[in-house]
Every structure is written in C-alpha cells, then in structure tokens.
C-alpha cells in the first residue's frame, strides 16, 4: 500500500470572489464609482476647452449636455458620486489616528457624522452660491 499523501492540500480558487458576499459587491461598486467620477471630470474639462474656443463652441457643448443620453449619464453619475462620498466618509475613521476630546476618545460614528454633515453643508453652500450667481 502506498504511503498516504498527508501533504495534499486544497485551496479554494478565487474566481468570482467578489460575487460571493454582498459586502464585496458593495466594495467593487465603490471602486467602480471612480470611473464615473473620472468620466464626469472629463466632461467638465471638455466644457472648459469648448469655452476657450468661443461662444458657439460652448453653446454646442451645452446643447450636447441637454440630450437624453447625457441626462441619463449625469443621473447615474450623480448617484455614483453620492455613493462614493458615502463610502468615503464611512471609512474615514479608519484613516485617522484616535482623536481625544476632553480625555475621551471620539467615537467613529461621530467622525462619520461630522464628515457627512460638513459635506452636506458645503455642497448646499456651493449650490446656493452658484445658483444665486446665475444671470
């Protein structure tokens, strides 16, 4: 009888690992949301370039933004940006050293909440500023 192979090991392959657990799916969505943010930045950059080419070119860019396809893109991108921002603040405590206030450690939930609150307030402020500056 041959000697049993006790060194035989089984390691589960990693194929499709991100589909195995919803936590990984949300993580992949977080990573993928960057692509939409880059695309949005490129669209804005394109607008800046068209502006440098004169009024007609810029109006052409504005007209392109009003197409259903562009509106759909901006709708999806807005959702992706919101999700990305949410995940960004959710992991913020993990990137910070412990913060002590009055001898007590600031709870993670307080860090997340203050980050989110700051983002909401600043975004609203920016929105009001831009909106009131319209001619």
């Amino acid at each position: 009888m041959p000697a049993p192979n006790l060194l035989n090991r089984y390691t589960r392959p990693m194929e499709g690992w991100w589909r195995r657990n919803p936590f990984y799916l949300w993580y992949m969505l977080r990573e993928a949301s960057c692509v939409f943010i880059i695309a949005y930045a490129l669209v804005l950059l394109c607008g800046l370039y068209r502006l440098s080419q004169g009024e007609a070119a810029f109006n052409g860019w504005l007209a392109a933004l009003a197409t259903p396809r562009s509106i759909a893109f901006h709708g999806i991108t807005a959702m992706m940006v919101l999700y990305h921002a949410w995940t960004w603040f959710k992991v913020m405590p993990k990137t910070l050293p412990f913060i002590h206030i009055g001898g007590k450690r600031m709870p993670d939930a307080a860090i997340v909440t203050s980050g989110l609150a700051a983002a909401v307030v600043l975004s609203a402020l920016l929105f009001v500023l831009v909106w009131s500056g319209r001619s």
């Binding site: 090991r9 089984y10 390691t11 993990k94």
Partner: protein, 249 residues
Amino acid sequence: MTTTRIIEIECQRFNPQTDSEPHFQSYQVPFSEEMSVLQGLQYIKDHLDGSLTFRWSCRMAICGSCGSMVNGVPQLSCHTFLRDYFPDKVRIEPLNHFPVLRDLAIDQTDFLAKLESVKPYLIPDTEKTPAQGTYLQTPQQMDEYYQYSECINCLLCYAACPQYGLNKEFTGPAALALLHRYNADSRDAGSAERMEVINGENGVWGCTLVSYCSEVCPKGVDPARAINQNKINSTKDYFLRFLQPRGGK
C-alpha cells in the same frame, strides 16, 4: 424549558488521502436554544460521524481556534448560534484563503511566519532590570494600542480579506494590526525595525481598504484602522527622508 428542534448542518469534507477536491455532507442535528454552531459540530462528531475534523478549544471566543465560514461568513463557530439560522440550513466550510488540511481544519503556517516577521513583542529603548522598576504608562497612552492587543489570532480577518486571497505574500490584517499594537505602545522603541514590513511591497500598501476584516473581527480589533494608520506613517517615513540629514536615520 428547552425545546429541541432539528437543523440541517452541511459540512465541507476533504480527506487529503483520498480526495482531490472537497465535497459537502449533510447532517440532521437536534439543537436547543442555547446551542452554538460549534456544539452542533461536536454533536455530529460524538453521535453521527466521528471522522469529521475541526479545531476548537475554549468555547468562549477567547482561544481563536474554531474559526470557519458559516453560510459564507467568517465566524467563530462558538460565537454563532444555531437558532439564528433555523429553519434554514447552516453550511460550514473551512476558513477562506487558507490551504485545507482536512475537513474544516486549515493550515495556518503562513500566518505564523507573518506574525513573526512583525516582531510582535516590546522592543524597549533601554532594557530595565527588575530592580529599576516597571515601564510606566498613562491610561491615554494605553488606549492608543489596547484594542489592537485584543487580537486572538483567529484568522477570520484573513478569510475576509480578498487581497490576501489574491496575493498570499500580503502581510495581512492581523499581523499588521499586531505590528501597530507594538508601534503604538509608548514603552516600545522598535518602530524603525518594523518599518521595512510596513513600507514593503506586501506591507500596508497591499490593503485597498475593503474593511471586511474589521467587520468580521470578533474582538473589535479593527485591523483596517491599524493598517491605514500606517499608510500615513509610511508616507511620512518616505517624505521625511528627503528633508532630514542622513535619510532620517
């Protein structure tokens, strides 16, 4: 009064002498309200199938031996209760990302080497003799590392970490959290010696902040936090060498 119900426990089986791939085997296990998944496994071993192999010791989430995948989630089987799964079945697999030795027992040799590489012990600046007294520390200094010292090496975080699954060279959550546990200790002066592990290709930069490790940790260690603290330290270490004479040494 405890009522007894029957739950289906499906275990991954693998015999290195006869199998090239694992398969699943189902058992009908009577259980009461207070029975853990580990007790379910022990019932199988005692009454249904003595050949089922799994590790366990303390039964109270201290020893870190009984980690396994319970319905796809890394869990201490002593810390997980059958009642929470009933009437559905419970599927138990060995911890992800580790080579399986037999049934639910994994080979943790790789982790032990990584743990050793981070020098998980105090390296004081100057050694004191017992006559010179103890190393003093304030409660706030202790708070800086205490949660990281709670690690029980159960390896749930490695089973949760896809970066470790994809690259076995990655130092991984628990070892890096323990590295930070000593670096953050005011009595320790070994940070410079551990910097090589932090900065290396498979150090903290191998982490992409999936943060599932912190989610599954049964002791609230938050390894993702320990790792990401050291991304800051690693960046500082990299840039300061340009500003300081003799490379900041």
